[in-house]
């Protein structure tokens, strides 16, 4: 019989990071809401980064002659303060713009702390199982058993009210979700043959955990990170509103709401605009998170 040369079908699809990114984008862009969310979120980031250049006034500059001035389209409003001023004459727009900085800062820090801690604990629990697993998971169960805002409140009460402490408290409250997700993902990956193959090759535990297994668990974690980014902003706003987060005169959106509480009936703009800012940002991030899940979750991935 004649021997035929191996005519494997050549796959010419591009490789490397760009290809991965292109594939990701093709899935992500199918979800229009997600793209809209992304655009808005990028807008918020830009506003936060260039706050000092965009904002017409300083966030804490008080215009004594323009107390509780309404937005420009209402009677008595002026283009000088497009969204009006608050009770002590600070420009609402400028405060909101600077508030975006705080919100993003809170989101980033909280997510980083809880993600890193969650991954480490989750990896340990899922990888070693046994006593370590039981110990870690029971602690997480206890944390989860408290209503999250209440626990955050208690922690802030112990640590003292400040933005940093609020962020730490929120991170602690959120971190069990990451632990559970990581542990579940690690446990599924552990049963796969490639992990056994890596062991047979002689790869030690630490490398196995972080180099072999972890990258395969990242997809659900990224989605969770995006979604908890928004809940971190929300929780921080809630703590701020209760006076346990950022302290006045910080232009944090939740704190702004708290300060404006007494003017709800007289000056709608002082409460509405910070509220709308929180709402739209959180909504945008959530929609973006949905798109991320569609693009990263292999269970939903169509071939």
């Amino acid at each position: 019989m004649t021997e035929i040369a191996l005519q494997e079908v050549v796959d010419n699809r591009p490789t490397g990071f760009r290809a991965v990114l292109a594939e990701f984008w093709s899935y992500f862009s199918e979800n229009r809401g997600a793209v809209a969310g992304l655009v808005f979120f990028v807008g918020v980031i830009l506003v936060a980064v260039f706050a000092d250049f965009i904002a017409p006034h300083g966030p804490n500059h008080q215009y004594r002659d323009a107390l509780l001035q309404p937005p420009f389209w209402q009677d008595g409003g002026s283009i000088k303060f497009p969204l009006g001023t608050d009770a002590i004459g600070r420009d609402m727009l400028s405060r909101l713009i600077h508030g975006a900085q705080y919100s993003l800062f809170i989101g980033c820090i909280v997510v980083s702390i809880s993600l890193v801690a969650g991954i480490i604990f989750g990896l340990l629990a899922g990888f070693f199982r046994g006593r370590i697993d039981t110990f870690i998971m029971r602690i997480m169960d206890i944390v989860l058993a408290f209503p999250s805002l209440l626990l955050a409140l208690v922690l802030v009460a112990i640590l003292g009210p400040s933005l940093i402490n609020a962020m730490i408290a929120i991170a602690i409250v959120q971190q069990p979700h990451y632990v559970r997700l990581t542990r579940a993902a690690v446990m599924t990956e552990m049963t796969k043959d490639y992990v056994t193959a890596a062991r047979v090759i002689g790869i030690r535990s630490l490398r196995l955990m972080f180099v072999t297994i972890l990258p395969n668990c990242m997809a659900p974690l990224i989605v969770q990170a995006a979604l908890s980014f928004s809940s971190a902003i929300l929780d921080a706003a809630a703590l701020g509103f209760l006076g346990m987060g950022a302290q006045p005169p910080t232009p944090e959106w939740g704190t702004m709401l708290a300060e404006a509480r007494e003017f709800i009936l007289r000056a709608w703009w002082v409460v509405t605009f910070p509220g709308v800012a929180i709402l739209t940002t959180v909504l945008a991030i959530n929609m973006m998170g949905d798109g991320l899940r569609d693009a990263l979750d292999p269970k939903l991935k169509r071939s």
Partner: protein, 331 residues
């Protein structure tokens, strides 16, 4: 009159990368009380074809056929309630994974009597009597006890027997078995195959056995359809197929079986089955065929005459040698 007539059945799927033809103009004629096997590798469209027949494909699939007739009734024009009476009742199906084709939330007895209730309208006492009878028929010991068992309490072989019991509960005229033994151990596989053959004989059903295992084909089927990349490449009675395959793919496939080879190195088929994006222009097997000529690479072949097993080939094999083969290539 054939029990089942299918002419030029095609199934296309809408995918992210465009249309994908999973089944390309296949024809099946199945006589009453006949055992037919559809054999092919993964991606040959053998399961998709029968799923299309049963109406079990997702909405992304488009099914077209010139003729689709069961027992003289045209399935393409028939009303939905009538179709439902045929499918699941006169035409039943069992699947590869016995552990997942039964609902884990309900007992075996419930799932069995449910079919009886829906299709035959029996009352409770009749249902139970019939259920026990069916379980006995498929060789399940202590059927009364098993009625209240959940699928996870039974082994894979037992679950497959339950699936068979559900499938034959309305005395179907046609039973389609999609890889019924692939997930089972060898000794259990033998039991299930024996059971299927016994039931086929007793009930006079037609049996369509979809498989990739040439051994199972050789031991059970009477007539065999060979599929490759969505096309039907050959059909023959089983003995003829194994002795004198007419299509080069069948020949190469049989040669690559370890049990039919005496040499240390098997005569394997190079390359892989073409996928959605790399379908060759001419004959789909031409990139892997060692008889392929320029004609094969350029022009898709048409089905040959019956004496050549309708082989989809420009040069169908007679006694292992291609016919009408151009002289200069052979040299």
């Amino acid at each position: 009159m054939p029990l089942l007539e299918i002419d030029n059945l095609s199934v296309t799927f809408q995918t992210a990368g465009g249309l994908f033809t999973a089944v390309d103009r296949i024809s099946l004629h199945i006589e009453p009380s006949e055992i037919v096997s559809i054999v092919g590798e993964s991606g040959s469209g053998k399961s998709v074809a029968v799923l299309a027949l049963m109406g079990l494909l997702p909405w992304t699939a488009t099914v077209t056929a010139d003729v689709l007739r069961f027992d003289g009734q045209d399935l393409t024009t028939i009303t939905k309630p009538e179709l439902r009476k045929i499918i699941g009742c006169q035409m039943a199906m069992i699947f590869q994974e016995p552990m997942t084709s039964l609902n884990p939330c309900f007992t075996v007895g419930f799932q069995l009597t449910e079919t009886l209730k829906i299709h035959l309208g029996m009352n409770r006492a009749e249902q139970k009597r019939r259920a026990i009878e069916l379980l006995e028929l498929v060789g399940i010991p202590e059927p009364e006890k098993r009625l209240s068992a959940f699928p996870h309490q039974l082994s894979g072989g037992m679950n497959q027997r339950v699936m068979i019991a559900i499938a034959i509960s309305c005395n179907p005229r046609l039973l389609i078995a999609d890889e019924p033994t692939t997930a089972l151990d060898v000794t259990i596989q033998a039991q299930i195959l024996d059971l299927l053959l016994k039931l086929q004989k007793e009930k006079g059903m037609s049996l369509v056995l979809i498989t990739h295992d040439m051994g199972v084909v050789a031991e059970t089927a009477e007539r065999v359809f060979v599929q490759y990349a969505g096309q039907q490449v050959e059909q023959q009675p089983v003995k003829g197929l194994f002795a004198r395959p007419h299509h080069p793919y069948t020949q190469a496939l049989l040669n690559s079986l370890p049990e039919r080879s005496n040499s240390r190195i098997l005569p394997s088929i190079a390359g892989i089955v073409p996928g959605q994006f790399d379908k060759p222009q001419g004959c789909l097997f031409s990139p892997r065929c060692h008889y392929a000529t320029d004609l094969c690479r350029e022009k898709p072949p048409t089905a040959g005459p019956v004496e050549f097993g309708n082989a989809l080939c420009h040069y169908p094999l007679a006694d292992g040698v291609p016919t009408n083969y151009p002289q200069e290539v052979r040299a």
